[in-house]
């Protein structure tokens, strides 16, 4: 359905962004393999990026709700 396509596209976008940001942060100079310190950095980076996404989702939803309420108050 449309809904699950949107959710899938959003999950895919989240993985792509995490990949891009964590490669930039953790792999300073690409070598012949991923070193174990690079893998440690990547798994922490992944956790922090998902946490960031959750914080931003919540604060953005809260802001949208506050603005909607504000508009309704202004119409009274």
């Amino acid at each position: 359905g449309v809904r699950s396509e949107i959710a899938l596209a959003s999950a895919q976008e989240l993985i792509n962004k995490t990949n891009e940001k964590c490669f930039a942060k953790c792999i300073a100079k690409p070598g012949t393999t991923l070193s174990s310190s690079e893998e440690t950095c990547l798994s922490r980076c992944l956790e922090r990026y998902l946490e960031t996404f959750n914080i931003i989702s919540k604060t953005y939803s809260a802001r949208l709700s506050r603005e909607r309420e504000q508009r309704q108050l202004n119409q009274i």
Binding site: C45, I56, S57
Partner: protein, 85 residues
């Protein structure tokens, strides 16, 4: 599929459904952009097993200050526009 005909009520319901889904897709896209921007601004060190304190408060305030900036810019532009009478 192309030859299926819907009655008017179903068409309206479908239109409402699609509109709501498009709004959701726009919100998702905004959240991804805000996440990327706030990550670059607030998370500047090597990732640890939790956020540094300054990083977390920066993230918690990032969306609201970005939207305040947007409102401030729009208000400033509108206040400088010559008034129509």
């Amino acid at each position: 599929m192309d030859n299926v005909k819907f009655d008017e009520a179903t068409q309206k319901e479908l239109a409402t459904f699609l509109e709501r889904e498009q709004a959701q897709a726009r919100i998702n896209s905004t959240v991804h952009n805000l996440t990327s921007m706030c990550w670059d601004k607030c998370v500047t060190g090597t990732p640890g097993s939790r956020f540094a304190r300054g990083e977390e408060s920066c993230l918690l305030n990032c969306v609201d200050r970005f939207m305040d900036t947007s409102l401030f810019i729009i208000k400033t532009i509108e206040s400088q526009r010559p008034q129509q009478s």
